[in-house]
Structure formats: structure tokens, C-alpha cells
């Protein structure tokens, strides 16, 4: 059984893993780069080892160094978290070779699922639906029309040699087929000198829905239901929830079975996620598998009532899953938002810097997974995520209200954060009604712009607070300051200036 775990990660996920280790009586080893000496994971762990300069390529991605620390510290297992080495097949294999348990799948599963084409073929073989389309280029008009009829409208025609939108045509109606294929081919010919095209089912309003799975080393695999992750900005998830507002029990059961089949196809053991693209009619297609813990795993933990990190450790230990599919149920509704150090009102510019003051939201139904503390300097070298806020409610409506309440008293000063932006998302009608897909952010720009919530009086209060703080500062330096006229006394002013700048 595992007695000591090296966590090959940083930030909130390193701490989240260490918390479960502590509950299991397992010792933890932190590794840290130059920028992370003061990071919370170093403070939280039992042991801490320096592994290199700040860029992750010289520290958190250095397999050699991490294996060395594992051996030196006596760690018998490595948890990779997410990102960094978590989906690195070579690292999984290397750990196995060195006799260190890798808390995650074996290199075969990582490799198979890591390559899009191999994964697609494996899924087709396992009977898991994939987005319908051609796998070989088509140069013949008649063949193309046949294929389109086979897939069914709408379809997207793409130049085989293509890129940059050239030779791409969306076909929605029967009558457009011939013209579209011809136009795409001639455009492709002109642009790339090759008129071969691919044809793929076009998903009109795509939803990103993923299934959490757990598999042990004895061939048992269960799913822990879905997560709805369609609120995305630049392919980055911003808000996740479970259950999905568009899911039905029947489709859930079928998708869950598909997810289990997908995992079984690669003899998967550990925690993993099957991502699907889903259309408005709840047709679902395999997108990819993430062979690791996801950022958004806590919403599943909350609604299903299972600690996924503990399950990962139990699985690595060779234990059988302690529950069967029929033991698992969803209770209530959970939502997660990701708090980033960025300026949502200035093109989401990253905002590294020092946390001056932090008030964390607490109370009923609120989980907060973070790693920042007052006085902590968020380094510029890594992901700008500061923390995740997860709420639970009896119903989706209650969960949204609770999230708004939690954001209301979550205060971070010193760096700009996405908190106001997240608040605006929660007030978009399409979100409230649960009618949204991956175009959500794009389609709701008018609701997501910065607003002035503060009335004239509230602005006055801001002025008065700054004024009061300023005169108090003067007072401290020079008790009579506020009664003096600074403007006409330059000598005095010069002296004060130098003191204020201390």
C-alpha cells in the first residue's frame, strides 16, 4: 500500500491531492521551482524538494529530476495532477520501470487516447459513436454526393490539403449539395492545387458534455455521470455544471455506457474523462479522452459523493472499486467557476502580482479549492488560475443563486480577477434557462460587457474612502497636516513627498 506520495504539480491541484493523502494517512512530498518557494503546496506538504528554475520545462516537466526526488524522499507513488506530466505516456512508463506507482493509467492507454486518429479508430471498433465523416480524401463528385447522403445534412466540406477556411463549405440543404461540392473543389484546386475534399457531419449548436469514469486494475469500469462544459472562452472552460441542463435519463444512461465502453477499449485504469460533442437533439459523438483528473472534477465529487483522488489512490493500490454502477446516484446540482488572475475588462490580459487582501466565501454548499494567500505573489510563469469555487444546491436554481452569493463575498485585491465576469455570466438569460452551447460566450457578448453597478452615491463613497485614507496617512506622518495648506508651501510639500514615498 502507498505510504508516501510525491505530487508532481503545483497550485490548487497539488494541495487538493495532498488533502486526500492526509485523510488517508499518506505522507506527501512537494516539488517546487524557483518561483514557487513560497507557494502553498510547499507549505502544505510533509516534505519539499527544489527541482529547478521557474520555467516548467526546467522544473515541473523534468522527469529525471522528479524520479530522483521520488527515490530520495522514499515516495512509493507519484500523482501528476493535471497538466504538466499527467498525460505523458513516457513518464507513466518510466515510473513503472523505476518501481514507482504512477497514480494514473498505463502508457498504453495514454498513448492510444493521446493520438486523435488512433483514438477515433479504437472508438469505432468499440462501437462508440464518433462524429460521422470520411477518413480518406474524396476526389470524385458522385462519391462525394453519396457520402453526404450517407452522413445526412448538415455537413461541412473541407479541402483535404486545406487550411484557413479556403475550400470550406457548409451544406444545410439538399439543393445546395452539388453546387457546394463543386465550389469547394474548385476553390481547393485554386488554392492548394488539389481538389480532394473531406466531408464531416456539421454539429449546429454543439454542447461539450463529458463523462467521468473510474476503472480499477481488475477490469471494472463505472461512470460517475456527466459534466456540462459548454461555457467556454477560446476553448477554455469557464463554468461547468452537473447534471447538464439538457440531459435526459435515457441519453445519460446510453452515454454513460458509451463512456464505459470507451474506457474498456483501452483497458483503462484510474480516473478519466470521455468528452463528447452533443447536438440539440442529444446525438452524441466521442471527441477525446482525458487520461487524468480534470480541473472540474469537484462538481462530480459533490453530486455523486465520491472523493476521486482517494479512488485514484485506491485503484493505484490495486484495490477493486468499492461500488458498482447501480450504487451511484446524482444528488442535487453543482456548479464550478474558475477564478483567473486576469482582467476581463481589458481583453483578459493576465494579471500576475501580489495578493494584497483576500476574503474567501464560506458557508452552506460552498467549496473553495485554492492556493493563494495574503502576501502571496502569483508567479507569471504558470497558469493564471487562482482558485475554483464550487457550489451545490438542491436545484439548479438554488445552485446559481448560491454561486452568486459566494462570488458576492469573494474578494481578492492586488490582482485583477475574473470574478465580475463570472458574475455576469450567471445573469445571462440563456444561462439561467439552461439553453446554451459552446457558442454561448460569443452569442451573449451584450450581456458580458462591463457594467456600472455603482450608483452616483456609491461612487461618492469610493471618493470619500480614498480621501479618508489619504488624510489619515498624512496625519500619521505629520499630525497637523490636514489643517495646513499644502499648495502654497513648497518646502513643506517637498519634505512630505519624500516621506510619503518611503
Amino acid at each position: 500500500m502507498i505510504k508516501k506520495v510525491l505530487v508532481a504539480n503545483r497550485g490548487e491541484i497539488a494541495i487538493r491531492v495532498m488533502r486526500s493523502c492526509r485523510e488517508m494517512g499518506i505522507e506527501t512530498v512537494a516539488v517546487f521551482s524557483e518561483a514557487d518557494r513560497s507557494s502553498m503546496h510547499v507549505r502544505y506538504a510533509d516534505d519539499a524538494y527544489y527541482i529547478g528554475p521557474s520555467p516548467s520545462s526546467e522544473s515541473y516537466l523534468k522527469m529525471e529530476k522528479i524520479i530522483e526526488v521520488a527515490k530520495k524522499s522514499g515516495a512509493d507513488a507519484i500523482h501528476p495532477g493535471y497538466g504538466f506530466l499527467s498525460e505523458n505516456a513516457a513518464f507513466s512508463a518510466r515510473c513503472q520501470k523505476e518501481g514507482i506507482l504512477f497514480i494514473g493509467p498505463d502508457s498504453f492507454a495514454i498513448e492510444t487516447m493521446g493520438d486523435k486518429i488512433t483514438a477515433r479508430k479504437t472508438m469505432i471498433a468499440a462501437g462508440v459513436p464518433v462524429v460521422p465523416g470520411t477518413t480518406e480524401p474524396i476526389s470524385d463528385l458522385k462519391k462525394a454526393v453519396e457520402v453526404i447522403h450517407g452522413i445526412g445534412l448538415p455537413v461541412m466540406i473541407k479541402a483535404s490539403a486545406g487550411g484557413g477556411g479556403k475550400g470550406m463549405r457548409l451544406v444545410k440543404e439538399e439543393s445546395q449539395i452539388l453546387d457546394a461540392v463543386s465550389a469547394a473543389r474548385s476553390e481547393a484546386k485554386a488554392a492548394f492545387g488539389d481538389d480532394a475534399v473531406y466531408i464531416e457531419k456539421y454539429i449546429n449548436s454543439p454542447h461539450h458534455i463529458e463523462f467521468q469514469i473510474l476503472g480499477d486494475k481488475h477490469g471494472n469500469v463505472v461512470h460517475l455521470f456527466e459534466r456540462e462544459c459548454s461555457v467556454q472562452r477560446r476553448h477554455q472552460k469557464v463554468v461547468e455544471e452537473t447534471p447538464s441542463p439538457i440531459m435526459t435519463p435515457e441519453v445519460r444512461a446510453k452515454m454513460g455506457e458509451a463512456a464505459v465502453a470507451a474506457a474498456k477499449a483501452v483497458n483503462y485504469h484510474g480516473a478519466g474523462t470521455i468528452e463528447f460533442i452533443v447536438d440539440d437533439n442529444l446525438n452524441y459523438y466521442f471527441l477525446e479522452m482525458n487520461t487524468r483528473l480534470q480541473v472540474e472534477h469537484p462538481i462530480t465529487e459533490r453530486v455523486v459523493g465520491v472523493d476521486l483522488v482517494k479512488q485514484q489512490i485506491n485503484i493505484a493500490n490495486g484495490l477493486e472499486l468499492s461500488f458498482r454502477q447501480e450504487d451511484l446516484k446524482q444528488h442535487g446540482h453543482a456548479i464550478e467557476v474558475r477564478i483567473y488572475a486576469e482582467d476581463p475588462d481589458n481583453n483578459f490580459m493576465p494579471s500576475p502580482g501580489m495578493i494584497k487582501h483576500i476574503t474567501e466565501p464560506l458557508g452552506l454548499g460552498v467549496r473553495h479549492d485554492g492556493y493563494a494567500y495574503e502576501g502571496y505573489e502569483i508567479p507569471m510563469h504558470y497558469d493564471p488560475m487562482i482558485s475554483k469555487l464550487i457550489v451545490w444546491g438542491e436545484t439548479r436554481t438554488e445552485a446559481i443563486a448560491r454561486m452568486k452569493r459566494a462570488l458576492y463575498n469573494y474578494k481578492i485585491t492586488g490582482v485583477k480577477t475574473s470574478i465580475p465576469y463570472l458574475h455576469r455570466i450567471l445573469e445571462v438569460p440563456a444561462f439561467i434557462e439552461g439553453r446554451y452551447n459552446t457558442h454561448f460566450i460569443e452569442e451573449n457578448q451584450q450581456y458580458l460587457k462591463p457594467r456600472k453597478n455603482c450608483s452616483g452615491r456609491c461612487e461618492d463613497v469610493a471618493v470619500i474612502a480614498a480621501f479618508f485614507d489619504y488624510i489619515n496617512k498624512l496625519e500619521k506622518i505629520q499630525p497637523q497636516a490636514i489643517t495646513k495648506d499644502l499648495g502654497n508651501n513648497w518646502k513643506d510639500f517637498g519634505r512630505k513627498r519624500s516621506i510619503l514615498r518611503l
Binding site: 463613497v461 470619500i464 480614498a466 485614507d469 489619504y470 502654497n488
Partner: protein
């Protein structure tokens, strides 16, 4: 005495009329306010105004006279305008030197420097690329310019507001 305070684009005039413990009376642009104001945490004020409860967080800016003020949902840039600030504002207007500097608004690492001293660059051309938190930001010139001085090199770490390139 009264102070001038700049909040976003508004210039407000404010004067402390009286003060007793945490109760103050101020005159703000001809309106009289009676408040109960208390610093409850460092830089965090609890304010009661006509029994409404406000929480205001102050983060000091570049110097003791500038603040970022956070209220419930809004952030304001606030500057106390005293004689010194007025003097600097006037000087700035005169020589307009600020416009000739390309500075990094955030801390980061210089990934690319695409110009050298004496280069002629066209409007919209990128001069420096800075990376922070896995995101790269490009700094461009808005008009055709000549590069006067390059203050950073690739691999340099820059802090917020640090000048990187001086242009003519």
C-alpha cells in the same frame, strides 16, 4: 482645506468638515455627507451612510496619492490631486514624453524584441512580445515611428509599467 480628487474622468472637490472617532462629515461637490467610517482590515473600510452598509477596499497605486478603489462590483482609479500632482500633470502635458514610451502593463518575460535602435517601423507593427501566465501579448506602434532606444532584451523579466522601448 479642500482637496481635488480624480475618480475615473470626474474631478471631485472634497473637504472634511468634522470628525469625531469614526463619525465624519464631509462636503463633496456641494453635498454634505455624514458617515460612520472604520478601517476594519488593512486597506478595507466599513462605511455606514444613512444606515446603508458599504465595504470599500483600497489598494495603493504607484504612490501614496493614487488608489484602486473596489466597491461591491466596481473598481475605480482614484487620485488625490494636490499641488505636487497638479505640477506633474502640467509638466506631462508640456513635453508629452509618456506617449513616447512603450511599457508593459503587466509583469512578464520578454519573449521577442523585433526592433533595434534606429529602426523605422510602420503603424501596427509589433515591436516587443511579452509572455505571462502562458499567454503572449504583442506590443505594437500605432503610427509609423523610429525606434529611439530599446531598453529590454529577450529573456528579460519586466515588472508592471516598466518602459521597454522609447520611440520618436
Amino acid at each position: 482645506m479642500s482637496y481635488e480628487i480624480k475618480i475615473n474622468d470626474r474631478l471631485a472637490n472634497i473637504e472634511l468638515l468634522s470628525r469625531e472617532d469614526n463619525k465624519i462629515q464631509v462636503l463633496l461637490d456641494n453635498k454634505v455627507y455624514d458617515l460612520d467610517i472604520l478601517e476594519v482590515e488593512k486597506g478595507v473600510y466599513s462605511i455606514l451612510l444613512d444606515n446603508r452598509s458599504f465595504n470599500v477596499e483600497l489598494v495603493e497605486g504607484k504612490n501614496a496619492k493614487t488608489y484602486l478603489v473596489n466597491t461591491l462590483y466596481d473598481s475605480f482609479d482614484v487620485e488625490i490631486i494636490d499641488a505636487e500632482a497638479k505640477y506633474l500633470m502640467n509638466r506631462r502635458k508640456d513635453d508629452g514624453e509618456d506617449e513616447h514610451i512603450i511599457a508593459s502593463p503587466m509583469p512578464g518575460k520578454v519573449v521577442k524584441v523585433l526592433v533595434k535602435e534606429g529602426d523605422h517601423v510602420k503603424a501596427g507593427e509589433t515591436v516587443v512580445v511579452v509572455s505571462a501566465m502562458k499567454m503572449e501579448s504583442e506590443y505594437k506602434v500605432k503610427q509609423d515611428r523610429v525606434i529611439k532606444k530599446v531598453l529590454v532584451k529577450e529573456g528579460d523579466t519586466v515588472s508592471g509599467d516598466q518602459p521597454m522601448v522609447i520611440i520618436e
